[in-house]
Symmetry: C2
Subunit: 270 residues, 2 copies
């Protein structure tokens, strides 16, 4: 597996390594990292050392494994407050969840992935970080498609290329073309569905949170299961959800949330 972001000199490469450890999702040995890295042993070794010294990774000497460092938790606290919609959206997400009585997700785009920044669970009460910070595929989730639908072609193109199009269920859209026509439909309606595309029995409606310039800065979704709800049933909730997305869009504009394409648009690969 080759590196994906490459650019940005030494810092970029080091952060690549960090991403890779995160992607593993469990503590990893040095050799495991070496295997799917294109860096030579000594180079990778120094990166890992540096990151560990910096607290971005933590090292377990007993098991000789590296895990994501605790410093990230501290940094992310500020990030979540400053750069996610969650803090300003909170009251509206709360109200929506209370009204619809189903699970509500608030998501944003990060790179080509969906990043969940907040959640209200219908069943279990609290879930904390276990939901916020989680990532999911953009091409087969309601929130993902709702946001993709409002991207400009220049940005959308590369993102569509990066999707895995893994067939999670028999309903998963597995080609860029199929996805493209779905996105057109979503743009037309102003909302989209997840028709058991990611998980069997799980359906959702998603509505983008749009700026005045029609950029999707995030999306809200209401999720349910086929044995409790139907797509038609979810569709009836759209006006209520739009109320919430509108409210969030307004607050975000007033609060001066940037009206840019994506929070992680490459400026220049130098």
């Amino acid at each position: 597996m080759a590196e994906r972001s490459a650019g940005d000199g030494t810092v970029g490469k080091a952060l690549d390594v960090l991403d890779r450890v995160a992607a593993m999702g469990r503590p990893v040995r040095f050799t495991e990292l070496l295997e799917d890295s294109s860096y030579p042993k000594a180079t990778l070794y120094r990166f890992v050392q540096t990151l560990t010294n910096q607290g971005m990774l933590s090292y377990d000497p007993e098991r000789q494994t590296y895990a994501m460092g605790i410093r990230l938790v501290r940094l992310a606290h500020t990030a979540w407050q400053q750069s996610s919609l969650a803090p300003i959206a909170r009251p509206h997400v709360d109200a929506l969840a209370a009204d619809v009585g189903e699970t509500v997700h608030l998501a944003q785009l990060d790179n080509a992935q969906v990043l969940y920044v907040d959640k209200r669970n219908a069943m279990r009460p609290i879930e904390m970080y276990s939901s916020a910070g989680k990532v999911g595929p953009a091409y087969c989730t309601g929130v993902g498609k709702a946001m993709l639908a409002y991207l400009d072609e220049a940005i959308l193109g590369p993102i569509l290329e990066q999707q895995s199009y893994h067939r999670f269920t028999e309903h998963t859209l597995t080609t860029a073309e199929a996805l493209r026509s779905e996105l057109r439909a979503i743009r037309q309606n102003g909302y989209g569905f997840d028709r058991e595309e990611h998980e069997p029995g799980i359906i959702c409606v998603a509505v983008p949170i749009l700026t005045a310039g029609n950029r999707a800065i995030g999306a809200l979704s209401v999720t349910s299961s086929t044995d409790r709800q139907t797509l038609a049933g979810l569709e009836k909730l759209v006006p209520r959800i739009q109320e919430a997305t509108q409210a969030i869009a307004n607050v975000s504009r007033d609060w001066g949330f940037p009206d840019q394409q994506s929070s992680n648009t490459k400026v220049e690969t130098n």
Copy 2:
């Protein structure tokens, strides 16, 4: 204001900048950063560019400000799961909070600061990220002192130097010497108090979570206010809290949590 971490080459310097943005706690202009940085303009500029390209910072073109990037939220999700005590401590924190009916904090040490990784609020139900990821001073919080009390002198010394000893209240310990003798007392008892040292009217008991080697890998505290509780009242809860810390220590040992000094011990500055 000079740089603090310095070492670790370019990556270290770039992460320094990241920390500085986080420390500001609000979106900052380039010039503001330049002011309290020792890097020349062009150098700092490139760091900020790189970090922005990498999604570690986000740039608001309208206001020309930099904020912490959304990528951090994604990375921190994994970090919180892997390197914090929160996931494994969760059931015990839940049970403790339910039993004592007061606010419970779970904290770890990050650098010379207290990092809160989980919390159960007595009053309000959910609080999410607004608590996890938060940092606080080590020298004047219950959890901070409880953990400091079990550090080896070699590590404790430098950390004591780094404390600000800001007098938050009239009870704040404002010298390393006063703190040292307090730490001795805590080590003797196995638990410590916050006697309105950080905030007037707020008191707490804290118990360290110790490994077999007597290293504090974290701490639990029960917090209350002087108009509802007394120190003596809180002290009665110690056995129940110790039950929880013991349980967490056990699970953490079984799950192979590293028995090291601190999760962010400098290995070598090159």
